[in-house]
């Protein structure tokens, strides 16, 4: 990742940095601030979260307001269900605006300014390393009952007996060849890691992880 100063010098302004994201044209066209996105938003029911205000801030392009937004917890409260896309009369996608803001916040380091943003390190340590080490985002080996009490006693039973039980469900747990939960072969893993290297995904993850 570039330092904050070099990014600002390179790009000029935060608003330009946001608008040059290739998703921006799909994400925000001409918001009329009707608030339907906020009305339908599951996050707005749970948090003091308001996608209408976020779209207004981004559309207005005021640098100080955008900087406050990028440093805030607010942008980490969206659940990415994208219900907002369905209902917006202008076809905007506030959830995609959030994706852009989160990307920018991480690229310039503002995400570290609040506790919700800092959680990205934990996600990168977990999901990120799982992708690069196993080829899966999620796998039974990482869903530990101690960290997932909500999974209940059936999950604990399944994990404790997975080698003996999974074949009943047609799974190929850690096996070679096709099937659910197979071990992903070395050549495939090498190609997957190479994609992360070539496209900047590895560097992006390295900037977030705790190591």
């Amino acid at each position: 990742m570039l330092s904050l100063d070099s990014k600002i010098i390179l790009m000029g302004y935060l608003v330009d940095f946001i608008r040059q994201d290739i998703r921006y044209k799909d994400a925000l066209k001409a918001c009329m601030n009707c608030g339907i996105c906020t009305a339908i938003c599951p996050a707005a029911e749970f948090f003091d979260y308001d996608p209408r205000r976020i779209c207004d801030t981004v559309q207005r392009g005021d640098e100080e307001s955008i900087e406050r937004l990028l440093r805030s917890e607010t942008i980490w409260e969206c659940g990415q269900c994208l219900s907002c896309k369905t209902r917006c009369p202008r076809g905007n996608v506030p959830g995609m605006v959030i994706s852009i803001l989160r990307t920018v916040s991480q690229e310039i380091g503002y995400y570290k300014d609040n506790s919700l943003g800092q959680q990205q390190t934990e996600i990168a340590d977990g999901i990120g390393s799982n992708i690069l080490n196993t080829g899966y985002c999620v796998h039974p080996d990482i869903v530990l009952p101690s960290k997932h009490p909500e999974q209940g006693p059936v999950w604990e039973w399944y994990r404790n007996n997975i080698e003996e039980v999974a074949p009943r469900f047609g799974a190929n747990y850690h096996g070679d060849g096709p099937g659910a939960l197979r071990k992903i072969d070395k050549k495939t893993m090498d190609e997957l890691r190479s994609i992360f290297e070539v496209t900047g995904g590895k560097a992006f993850l390295d900037g977030l992880t705790s190591d």
């Binding site: 980490w76 659940g79 869903v143 070679d176 096709p178 992903i184 992006f204």
Partner: protein, 350 residues
Amino acid sequence: MNRYWNEYQKVIADNHFFYERSCIRQTFFPGSEAAFLRILREELDKDIFDDFRQHTCTGIGYHSDIVPLETTMTVVARLFSLMTEHGYKNYVPSCVTSFGVFTEITHMWNEKPELLEKARENLWKACKREFELPENIAHASDIIYKFRNELAKKMKYRLVNRFTGKPLRVVEHIGCHYAKIFPDKGVGKAEFPYVLAGMIESWGGEVVDYPERRHCCGFGFRQYLIQENRGYSISNTKKKLESMEPYEPDFIVSNCPGCSMFLDRWQYTISEMEHKTYDRDGYGIPVLTYEEMAGLLLGYDPWELGLQIHQIQAERLMDKIGIPYNSKEKYRAASGKILRNPEKPANLLT
């Protein structure tokens, strides 16, 4: 009205499919993916290919913002290269979030050809691979929907309560990323999704309409992945459960791997936290995947489908339909060894 429904039709390929597995479904419901392949090959005589060299689409990483778009695009490009290599043109993801990722990325490639060229360049540089775009992308539930009437003729059971003769009352839950991102990619679009309702009606059941029918299950990506954030996730499921409770559904069916798991597990958690269940008798509302629903009606063994690894047990539902099962087989290993039963929940009856 028919005029509008015609507008909602989506093209679903007829045969020769490339299957892409789901990380969450493999983790929590591997029997559903096995059932899907069995239904296509054995019941419908279709050709579907399951490549061992596939991998995650990175969808969970992308929507929790730790994987950049360009990386996800190139990962998708590699998956398409496997399809191309084997001569397939019809791509079938098992996961709803994967389906959303593929529709989003192919949309961007169609709108901005330079991004497609960049993905080709990246894939060649990283893997020396090339790819063609699929002619058709359909979610696995679309395929079952397309052939629902053909399957109905082969089914041994129907979604009918054998004691009352009335249709079972079914809540259908569509994963948000199936049609909310690109409504025209879903059967019935986002407001009137018909992909599961069509199966339920064709197989004898009655669809329950309730106020929060379209509400998210609450996965929320980072809102579940981080333990201290899970209040968001359970609150959303609770809102749905409270909304559907007065309608007394016989079961819930979902086309999304995550939603199926959350609607099941959060019922257990709420019962532990608040001593509350959402059926009259304290057993909870069973949650099935659409493959499990189809498999049960086709007469597949419920313990081979994996119903025992749901937290809400399905025996009472199977009793209503008249599906036989052997309780002694429920907790055995593949070798035949009988395993110790799971611990019983404190409040949820099993």
